[in-house]
Amino acid sequence: MSALASSPGLADKGLADKGLADMGLTDPAVRDVGADQIAPGLRVSEIGLGANVTATAASPAGGIAGLGDGRVVRIVEGGAEEIARHDAAVVSLSALGDGRVVSAGQDGRVLLSGRRAPVTLFDAKGEWINACVVHEKARQVAAAYGRTVVLIDDDGVRGRFSEHPSTVSGLGFSPTGDRLAASRYDGVSLWTTNDLAAPTTLPWKGSMLSAVWSPDGRWIVGATQDRELHVWDLLEDKDYRLGGFRAKVRGVGWTGDSARLVCTGADVIAAWPIAGRPGAFPPVEIGYVCEGVVTAIAAGGPSDRIAGGFSNGAILIGDARSGVAMIARAAQEAEITSLAWSPSYDRLYYGARDGAAGEIALA
């Protein structure tokens, strides 16, 4: 059972039970999901890429995978097509609306690829890029290496934020792109992207691993090394802790309406209602049928549809409000490292540590 703080169980038990019963999964003896339990109506195609899939993105043209050996590949019918190559593991991928891809790697480079030969947007000269995010509308890319964050636009490096007290671990653009959150030890630095003035600080003692903005711009959530989430309410100037996770929270996302925060790190996909006060209501929990811990999530669509991948390779797709869920990939060996919804939220792309990558199309 989950041990999430303030969580007696499924929030909307009636609906959730109905959903699980439909799948024949209320039997407590069923502790792992097999291939025969995959929900009907899903079309799943999968290929092996031969290296750890460290990042997954969804471009309008299909799924993109970034690999531990540095390759960036586009998943095409029956195979994979290399569109860029880093000299070390891919750290992050962002797909643009026109089919191009921004990738960052442990080789210190940020590459733009997908339509023509890859272009180097930035080179940290051998230092690893630890985080890279894109704000497409604002035409900005931010990349972190060491204690420095660079801001890149069409003309190249436009600014440098280097006043961080320690290595920057995560980055997040505000929805409008005019602010940038950088996580590091003892909190988050909030920069303004157009004037590069000194940052405001969201303090929290310990090692912060990420900083993710809610789609409405009100909240910032960050994971901590201490297996907690820290949530800042920028409107009310308050902050909250969410705890009880079994592992470090590596993935955090929001439903499109900013009403629920979705995260990895528990033995269930947890969708926390945020309205009012984070933690006041227990999370909707999806995935009691799976062994293992949730290692990747994807959220953010116009509906409450979310997806979670588990350390045993299983993938569940569910509803963040009702908890109704279906099994989209059976448990195998390797963990799911990354998930991404297509722009239309009807296809889910995934990658696993053993090099498996695939597409799940909803009916």
């Binding site: 531990g68 070390a88 320690s166 030890y185 310990g206 090692s207 090394q225 201490d226 470090k248």
Partner: protein, 328 residues
Amino acid sequence: MTTAQDKTPVTLLTGYLGAGKTTLLNRILTEQHGKKYAVVVNEFGEIGIDNDLVVGADEEVFEMNNGCICCTVRGDLIRIVGGLLDRAEQFDGVLIETTGLADPGPVIQTFFVDDALRERTRLDQVVTVVDAAHFLDKVDEAHEAEEQAAFADLLILNKIDLVDAEQLEKVRAKLRSLNPQARVIETQNSAAPLEAVLDRAAFDLNRLLEIEPGFLEEDPEDHEHDDSIVSVSLSSDAPLEAKAFSEWMRALVREHGPKIFRSKGVLAFHDAGRRYVFQGVHMVMDSQWGAPWGGAEARRSRLVFIGRGLDPAMLQSGFESCRAKVAA
């Protein structure tokens, strides 16, 4: 599931400035042994190899609150080793070179408390290179030199060609008093056999069957001040009570954890047919049931603590209070 064989071994290489760490590291990287290592270094340029498996560390220490215990860990290593594991198929193991002044404690604790590292790596052993010519002076100058020796599983006593027999014997005696549990290899030019350095599984509880009885030999100088490093060995032929032992250990590490560098134990509980084995670094403990006791085997419990300013009498009486009240 990740099995012990799948886990990437991590070797920690410590030693005071100029002791010969870099020489050893360069040997590991250039000699033919059919294995490939990723290396986390503090100073680029010192090692003769430049490729994408050599990564610079920046020694970012921070305090982590892991539920019931607080401990300091190295955030840079969580990030760097975690990142290297994204391409784990490219190498057989990781070597971490610390600066001459680094405290090995946070480095070791990092591999016990971070869940991703715990899941995918195993700390193989702590190797400390000691400069025979300068160690005794360094010990007087700074705490780090002797602490690095106290944390070691393997001590490479290097530069023995630069000292006479009398000096060498003094250094040996000092090392024995600091850390009687560690294996010692004496070398020139850090020429230790690599099979003694790599892949030793010194932290593998499955291999912990017996603890060598402690040497009684002590350096009288050491007891002139209360904060010197001592090694305390305890043993008991009387069976122990698991609950009493667990309560005593918990209280002990809560109160004295920061002073205890390494601890190890093989224990016989009165109601168990198997050994109970544990090891710890400061307040971080790892334990499990070990091999069954043989029918004719003497069920002797042994514990060893290495730390600064430990009180042997206090440890002895605490340990004695763990004896089972009932006859075995």
